[in-house]
C-alpha cells in the first residue's frame, strides 16, 4: 500500500473536469484507489464522492493506492497532481 499527499494546484479546487480525468486515470490500473481529506475517506470510483470532499485550491489530500501495479500508478498520479491539475 502506498499513501501519498498532494496539494491541489487548480485554483478552482478539485472540480468536475479534473475529477473526471482522475477517475479515468485510476481506471487504467489494476490497483484500488482511495482519497482522503482530513477524516473523510472515499473510493476513487465515484465522481460524486470525489466532489463531495470539496477539496479546495491549496488543500492537501492523500491518495491511497493498493494493488500489484501501485508503484507504476503512483508515478502517474505524481504527474497528474503536480502538472495536469494546473491546466484545467
Amino acid at each position: 500500500m502506498i499513501s501519498k499527499d498532494y496539494i491541489i494546484l487548480d485554483p478552482h479546487g478539485m472540480h468536475a473536469r479534473p475529477a473526471t480525468a482522475l477517475i479515468k486515470l485510476a481506471r487504467q490500473y489494476k490497483s484500488s484507489f482511495s482519497l482522503k481529506k482530513e477524516e473523510k475517506l472515499i473510493q476513487m470510483r465515484s465522481m460524486l464522492n470525489i466532489l463531495s470532499i470539496a477539496a479546495k485550491y491549496g488543500d492537501t489530500i492523500s491518495v491511497i493506492i493498493e494493488g500489484e501495479d501501485e508503484s507504476k500508478a503512483v508515478a502517474a498520479f505524481d504527474y497528474f497532481f503536480n502538472e495536469e491539475m494546473k491546466k484545467f
Binding site: L9, P11, H12, G13, H15, A16, R17, A19, T20, A21, I23, K24, R45, S46, M47, L48, N49, L51, S52, A54, K56, G58, K86, K87, F88
Partner: protein, 578 residues
C-alpha cells in the same frame, strides 16, 4: 431586471420559455422480487441510453466540439455512470421496494441537497450538472420530463430555470441569440460554454424572470447582466448601436487571439500585460496576452493596517504563478512612496515625494521589508515562470545591492531547504534618466530591462503631468526622450539583453511602429489594449517599422513626430480595412 452577465455581447430577440415538468414520485411499492428485478433492469437500461445520448453528442462531427466541451460531456457521462448513485438507487429498489423512478428521484434529491449544503460556490453550481443527469435518466425511464427537441424560431432568447451543459453544447447558434436563466452561476458549465460559443448569457436572474412570457421582446446584455423586457424603439436603437460596436470588438478579439505575435517579415514580439493580481489574468489570456510584463505587487500592501506576512505574500504570488500556466511573469518589488502611500508605513512629509524616499530606496534602507518580499517571491517561483524586477534604479550600486540581498535570501533558503527556482531572472525598471543614459553599464548586471515611460518621461522633461499648467508639454514623442529610449534598447541588445516597456507608451498605437523599429522586444500594457496593438504589429513589417523609426529620429519636435505617426497609422488602417 438584472442577473449576472457571464458571456459578453448584446442580443435583441424574442423570448422562448422552456418549462420543465417536475418529476413526480409515484408512491408505488413493489410487491415481489420479480418486479424488483424488472425495475433494476429498467434503471440500468435507462442509464445506458442516457450515456448513449451524451456519447452521440460527443461523436457528432457537425458540432465541431472543443477539447473543453468534450471534457464537460465526459463529466456528464461520469455523473450518469456514477457507481455511488447506481448502488444507492438499486439499494432503494431492493430494500425499500421503490420503483426505479421513485428511487432515482429520492437519491438525486439527496445528492442535490448535499451539494447545495457545501460551503463552496463552485460545487453549488454543479447542481445543474447533477439535475441534467437525473433528467436524462428519468426521460429514458419513459417519463416525459423535458419537451422533445423543438424547432426554435429565428432570434430566440431562451428563458429557463437553468440550462444543462449538454443542452448548451447543442444549442443552434444560428437561431439562438442568447439565454437567461433563473438559477446558475459564473462557474456553471453552461456559462463556460456560452462564452466559448459567443452566445450572450445572463444567469442567476431570480424570480423576476418569471414575468417574461413567450414572444416578449427582450434585450439581453451579457456583459452587464441587464435584461430589458419590452423595450421601446429608442432603447432598441441604442442597443443596436452598442451591439455593433461590441460585435466588432469581440470579433477582432476572437480573430486575433490565437495568432502568433509577429510582423509580416517574421519578427517575433512579446505582447504582455500589466496586472495587479491573479484576477486580472483571465482577461489577459482572453485578449491574447502571452505573459505578464509588470506584476505590480502594491495591491496586497494597500487597504490594510500592517505589512502582509511572508505567507500572505507567498499565497498571493503563488496564485499568479499557477494561473499564468508557465508563461513569463515579471514581478516588480514594492514600489511605494511618491504618490503611493501606505497608511501603516508613515513617510514623513517631503517637499518632492517623486524625488524622495520611494521604491527600491525604501527596500534597500529597510531591508527587513525587502527580505520578506524576496523570500515570498522565490518560494512562489517553483509554481511558474516568475522573474524579479527592481523599480526606480538610478545607479549601479543599487542594482548590485539589490542583487546581493536576493543572493542572501537564496542562501538562507538553500540552507534551510526551502525550494525555489535557482535560475530566476532579474531585471530593472529603466525609469530614471541616469539609468537610461548608462544602460550600457547596467545591462551587464541584469537579464532584462523594462522601460517605465511614465516616470521616465516626467523625469526627463521635468514635467508634473498632474499640473494642468504644464501638462500640455508632456509628450512621449519628445525627441530627447526618444533618444533615451533608443539608447536603452541599443545598449541592451549589444549585450544580448531583453528590453520590454511597461509604461503607457507601450499601449499607444501611435508609438507601436516607432518602438518596433527601435527594436523593442516586449510590449506590456493593460489587457484591453492588447488586440489593438497586436493588429498593428502583425499587419506591418520590421523593415517598414525601421524606416519609420529612422524618419522619426531625424525630426526635431514632438508635434511633427506625432503628426507623421498619425498619418502612418491612418494609412495602415485604411489599407488594412479596405
Amino acid at each position: 431586471m438584472k442577473g449576472v452577465g457571464v458571456s459578453p455581447g448584446i442580443s435583441i430577440g424574442k423570448a422562448f420559455i422552456i418549462n420543465k415538468t417536475e418529476a413526480a414520485l409515484t408512491g408505488i411499492a413493489l410487491e415481489n422480487d420479480h418486479s424488483k428485478s424488472i425495475e433494476t433492469e429498467k434503471f440500468n437500461k435507462a442509464v445506458q441510453s442516457a450515456v448513449n445520448e451524451v456519447e452521440a453528442i460527443k461523436r457528432n462531427e457537425n458540432l465541431a466540439l472543443t477539447k473543453q466541451e468534450i471534457e464537460i460531456l465526459d463529466t456528464q457521462i461520469e455523473f450518469l455512470n456514477d457507481p455511488q448513485i447506481k448502488e444507492d438507487v438499486i439499494h432503494k429498489i431492493n430494500s425499500e421496494n421503490k420503483t426505479a423512478n421513485d428511487a432515482l428521484i429520492e437519491v438525486f434529491l439527496g445528492v442535490s441537497e448535499m451539494f447545495v449544503s457545501l460551503d463552496d460556490e463552485y460545487l453549488k453550481a454543479r447542481t445543474t450538472d447533477i439535475q441534467d443527469a437525473e433528467n436524462r435518466i428519468l426521460k429514458n425511464l419513459n417519463i416525459s420530463v423535458q419537451p422533445v427537441t423543438v424547432e426554435y424560431p429565428e432570434n430566440t432568447i431562451i428563458i429557463a430555470e437553468d440550462i444543462s451543459p449538454a443542452d448548451t453544447i447543442i444549442l443552434d447558434i444560428n437561431k439562438i441569440k442568447g439565454f437567461a436563466t433563473r438559477l446558475g452561476g459564473r462557474t456553471s458549465h453552461a456559462a463556460i460554454i456560452a462564452k466559448a460559443k459567443g452566445i450572450p448569457a445572463v444567469v442567476a436572474c431570480g424570480q423576476d424572470l418569471l414575468n417574461i412570457k413567450n414572444d416578449d421582446a427582450i434585450i439581453l446584455d451579457g456583459s452587464s447582466g441587464d435584461i430589458i423586457l419590452n423595450p421601446d424603439l429608442k432603447t432598441i436603437e441604442e442597443y443596436k448601436i452598442k451591439q455593433t460596436g461590441i460585435n466588432e470588438e469581440l470579433s477582432l478579439l476572437k480573430s486575433l487571439k490565437d495568432i502568433p505575435v509577429q510582423t509580416i517579415d517574421g519578427h517575433k514580439i512579446d505582447l504582455f500585460a500589466n496586472i495587479s493580481g491573479d484576477d486580472d489574468l483571465e482577461k489577459v489570456f482572453e485578449n491574447g496576452g502571452e505573459g505578464v510584463g509588470l506584476f505590480r505587487t502594491e495591491l496586497l500592501f494597500l487597504g490594510r493596517n500592517s505589512f502582509p506576512s511572508e505567507e500572505e505574500q507567498f499565497q498571493f504570488y503563488k496564485k499568479v504563478a499557477i494561473k499564468s500556466n508557465n508563461k513569463p511573469v515579471i514581478v516588480r518589488t514594492l514600489d511605494i512612496g511618491g504618490d503611493k502611500q501606505l497608511p501603516y508605513f508613515g513617510i514623513p512629509h517631503e517637499n518632492n515625494p517623486f524625488l524622495g524616499y520611494r521604491a527600491i530606496r525604501i527596500c534597500l534602507n529597510q531591508k527587513d521589508i525587502f527580505y520578506v518580499q524576496l523570500k515570498a517571491i522565490l518560494r512562489a517561483s517553483v509554481f511558474g515562470n516568475l522573474k524579479i524586477m527592481f523599480p526606480m534604479i538610478c545607479s549601479v550600486d543599487e542594482v548590485r545591492l539589490a542583487k546581493k540581498c536576493l543572493q542572501e535570501v537564496k542562501q538562507e533558503m538553500e540552507f534551510s531547504g526551502v525550494g525555489f527556482n535557482k535560475n530566476v531572472e532579474t531585471g530593472i525598471m529603466v525609469e530614471i534618466p541616469s539609468a537610461a543614459l548608462m544602460a550600457d553599464i547596467l545591462a551587464k548586471e541584469v537579464d532584462f530591462f523594462s522601460i517605465g515611460t511614465n516616470d521616465l518621461c516626467q523625469y526627463t522633461l521635468a514635467i508634473d503631468r498632474m499640473n494642468n499648467k504644464v501638462s500640455s508639454l508632456y509628450s512621449h514623442f519628445n525627441p530627447g526622450l526618444l533618444r533615451l529610449i533608443q539608447n536603452v534598447i541599443q545598449q541592451a541588445h549589444k549585450q544580448n539583453k531583453h528590453v520590454g516597456m511597461c509604461g503607457e507608451m507601450a499601449s499607444d498605437p501611435l508609438a507601436t511602429l516607432l518602438l518596433l523599429g527601435m527594436g523593442l522586444d516586449e510590449f506590456s500594457m493593460g489587457a484591453a489594449s492588447i488586440p489593438g496593438i497586436k493588429k498593428i504589429i502583425i499587419g506591418n513589417s520590421l523593415s517598414g517599422a525601421r524606416e519609420i523609426c529612422q524618419k522619426v529620429m531625424e525630426m526635431d519636435n514632438s508635434e511633427s513626430i506625432t503628426n507623421f505617426l498619425l498619418k502612418e497609422l491612418n494609412d495602415f488602417e485604411r489599407l488594412h480595412n479596405s
